[in-house]
């Protein structure tokens, strides 16, 4: 029973990692850039959620608050790409890594100035409620997180596999120049995908704040862990991101319980093992160039 209980909380945590990893994968799929500020965007989303929903701020209903937060962060992502990231359009991936690391620092600073450095929790309608499944306790928060994640992942999966826009995004990442020749507006595609990843980050952030507490520096390590999850799954694969997130989420509580010395670093060890065995992640999308 203990093990099952750990598993439930691990899966719920893993879903948040998975959601954040989805944000990474979205951007990677469409522009092959890696957004090291994704964790900080999640933090921003969480704070927006807190601002809209908590009684001490705007005190809006939960669903309206989460929608507003998602839209606002989506707009933020769009503007970010339009006015900052477009300046280095077409440059190597590495430039984007550095740029987003710097952006993360800035976002963290601004959030600290606006919301302060005390951990804040989100007030949800289902706080403290629990479903009993035999002896197994399932907090309603965890159930909501799991359902949202599964739903969002399937929607995005079909978006990329089936819709015109999704396929255009994949094309523009695989070969930017060829995508131009085919008439795809690559720059607009990039902006749209950044907006989309902002929306996903906001949802992840709101769920994160519902389960724990959020403060400005939370994004850095959480983002790195989620990135590890995305890499375990093989960057560029949506189901892979979810699987990686779940693996990281499940490994963490179990390692903390049974191997307390390595509890903190278990996700990274897992990632290194996966990468050493399969350098491109579980669902690898890297291939050797044929000359």
């Amino acid at each position: 029973m203990d093990i099952l209980q750990l598993l439930v909380s691990g899966i719920a945590n893993g879903c948040i990692y998975g959601l954040l990893a989805l944000g990474f994968v979205l951007i990677y799929k469409a522009s092959e850039a890696v957004n090291f500020a994704q964790g900080d965007m999640m933090m921003l989303g969480a704070f927006l959620g807190v601002t809209f929903i908590n009684a001490s701020y705007a005190d809006l209903p939960f669903l309206i608050g989460i929608t507003l937060a998602a839209l606002l962060l989506g707009l933020f992502g769009y503007l970010l790409d339009r006015f900052v990231l477009r300046a280095i359009f077409g440059q190597p991936q590495f430039a984007m890594v550095i740029l987003t690391i710097a952006l993360g620092f800035l976002i963290r600073f601004v959030a600290g100035v606006i919301w302060g450095h005390d951990p804040t929790s989100l007030e949800t309608p289902f706080v403290g409620q629990v479903w009993m499944l035999g002896e197994l306790m399932i907090p309603v928060v965890d159930a909501v997180i799991i359902l949202t994640t599964v739903g969002l992942t399937s929607i995005l999966y079909f978006f990329f596999a089936r819709t015109r826009l999704g396929v255009a995004m994949q094309a523009s990442s695989q070969n930017q120049m060829a995508a131009y020749y085919m008439g795809i507006p690559v720059k607009r595609i990039n902006a749209i995908v950044w907006a989309l990843s902002g929306v996903v980050a906001a949802i992840a952030g709101v769920l994160f704040a519902a389960k724990g507490a959020v403060e400005p520096s939370v994004g850095l390590l959480f983002g790195i862990k989620a990135f590890a999850a995305a890499v375990i799954g093989g960057l560029g694969s949506l189901p892979g991101a979810l699987l990686g997130g779940l693996l990281v989420g499940i490994v963490e509580p179990f390692a903390g319980r049974y191997l307390p010395e390595v509890g903190q670093i278990a996700p990274y060890l897992l990632m290194l093992v996966v990468l050493v065995l399969r350098p491109g992640g579980l669902f690898a999308q890297i291939s050797q160039k044929k000359v």
Binding site: Q91, A95, Q174, Q176, A228, E261, V262, Q264, L272
Partner: protein, 365 residues
Amino acid sequence: MSNRFKSRYDDDINLFEGRWHLAQYALLIALLLAAPWLLGVYYLGELTAVLIWSLAGLGLMLISGHTGQVSLGHAAFMAIGAFTNLALMMRGWHFIPALLASAVTSGVLGAIISRPILRMSGIYLAIATLALSIIIEDLSILAEPITGGVAGLFAPPIDLFGLTIDRYSSPKAFYYLCLTVLVIVTLGYLNLLRSASGRSFLAVRDSEVSARALGVNVTRAKTLSFALSCAMTGLAGALYAHLAQAVNYESFLVLISITLLLQVVIGGLGSVHGAFFGAIVVVLLPQSIAMLRDFLNNTAGISIAAYPGMDTALFALLILLMVIYEPRGLYGVWFKVRTWLQLFPLYRKGMFRRTRTYLKTERQR
């Protein structure tokens, strides 16, 4: 003045292009040697910090700037170097063998780690090295017999040629020690870059496929570069331990790894100068911000002291502008200024205009 007629092949790879070039560096060295008499004790300490971070930056520059493998985990090797040095000195080793041992240990560990890790590329490599840095952070608590656990280790004074060198009681001697190590490593680095190995590193950076086609052993080049890079960073770590006087797991956090990479980028990837420029910015920026703050407080009455993390944010903003407007970093700025001076009336606008580029996919390499 820069019109040189090349009559031998050696002219292409000479360390110094001519007498004038040599004289410039002689002047720089003379200034650095005279620095203890020109600066106060506090600023001498800052200058020593610049030297040490330059050394660490040189290490990262070799693997990231000249071999093209981005590492986000070099603080791990600083930690290895620092702990090796202090642990050996506490067991009665002399400083110099302990310093060499810390370079060798970080180099060998780097070579061992590089074998599995360098099979990855690009972003995968960056995240793997980042994970390595986080793991080492935890290991330095777990390996208590060597690292002193949570409390860490304290640096004993250095005995060298009958002198007792200590950061506080004899800052000049410590400064000269760091300067000597840095000059030796820099000369070695420049020599490496013009040797066959060094040029094979550049070939791997520019295109792995073409390097392989030209007969470069890519795995060997990467491993060698990573090992040497780790050794240099380990040296810097050992000196840093003596500068900070005490190290524990908190001395080499992931943030240090990230800052080190940002330092190299701000300086200019792929140039030896860049490592130095970057170190100057990283060490002196907090100072300048503090001074600016005092100035604003005193003259305009604007108080910006209320916001914690201000200097990190300004540093980040600087990086942001640098990546957008001058991807070659401070070295790029310096290079443009130098060219303008050298060509004086003949400089044309748009000489350094960047050509339009498209993203090349990393999924095929």
